[in-house]
Subunit: 118 residues, 4 copies
Amino acid sequence: MDIKNIENKLSNFSSIRDWDQFHSVKNLSMALSVECAELLEIVQWMSEDESNQLTSEHPKYQNVKDEVADVFLYLVRICQKTGIDLESASLEKIEKNELKYPVELSKGNAPKYTDLKK
Amino acid sequence: MDIKNIENKLSNFSSIRDWDQFHSVKNLSMALSVECAELLEIVQWMSEDESNQLTSEHPKYQNVKDEVADVFLYLVRICQKTGIDLESASLEKIEKNELKYPVELSKGNAPKYTDLKK
Amino acid sequence: MDIKNIENKLSNFSSIRDWDQFHSVKNLSMALSVECAELLEIVQWMSEDESNQLTSEHPKYQNVKDEVADVFLYLVRICQKTGIDLESASLEKIEKNELKYPVELSKGNAPKYTDLKK
Amino acid sequence: MDIKNIENKLSNFSSIRDWDQFHSVKNLSMALSVECAELLEIVQWMSEDESNQLTSEHPKYQNVKDEVADVFLYLVRICQKTGIDLESASLEKIEKNELKYPVELSKGNAPKYTDLKK
């Protein structure tokens, strides 16, 4: 993924509209949550099985795709503002999670997952 | 960004713990929202200016980095389950946004931004 | 419910800690979302049936109760700051919803519910 | 506040539409988060000062009122499903918060607020 390209497009999009003044990390974090909730709204009354059918043939697929993209775009914007390298942050977090949820304790056990997290 | 590599690590992480059973699109969307809120929690009482200082020297920087990574990891997972290509979805959405928020109407005008969105 | 009593306790709580400076409607709305997400976190990996067992005997019941209370307390605080009368706002909204979701179109039909909402 | 009256209206609203089947605690928690995000969307690009002007004369006041009401209605619904008494839960939580945030440590200090919370 050419994330530099996406970053550049976002910077241009914002600066040409004079929107950098609104893009504090605080506001971007709120916008990120709002976009997530728009995804949540699509699946809220679906059963889990129904939600798993949200692939390319589904009438709501384009909506899901748009919301997923919006979440990502605000996330990239937050990374730009904070100087976070999303790829290395992600790899680092996966390693942390591997230590946090040892296979023997976590296997097949989501409720424990939640408890271990605390 | 080598997103295929991240996807593979996530698939392995989940399958070795037998967690695929919990990873419906519905549940992953909830988890995504929860992680966003953990980011929100960091900035909620900060002023906008304070939030803009969340760069590498800031005592909360590592927390921000971890939450941003968690949001991204669940987002990638949702893409895996739905078959969304995150890069092309993002480029497509940027183009849509350019049409949705014409420069002449949007320039410097965030409240209008919100209204146009409706 | 003696909501005036709760309001008074919240005002005192905040003013004695000199926290009114942080309680803008913007910040309180963020805090409200964060508390909701803490409730979401409890149920995210549960099945719907499991979530329906979150009554007084359940080991997570106290957690649910605490998060529900936190959501309510921030909501009351937002009402204080905006001058909203929660009871009349609620009754008014129920009436709106009755018009928005006519029984004949909505009956037993949650996916339509979502579509009607748009 | 006559909360029993609101509860009855909500029960009727739902049962006449045959929507109880969708109102698991899990789904209601998602819906609660979605409604909070709709409130968040109203304030996300506002400054804190602007958000404090969201009183009865403001053009967005009715929107805020509607979203606040929606949050409350889902919260009452969750209380119905779990058997939580909202008033006593709230009073209990205020007492907990008084112990959790001792005046001498918390006074005027929101960043510490967050840290104490952990």
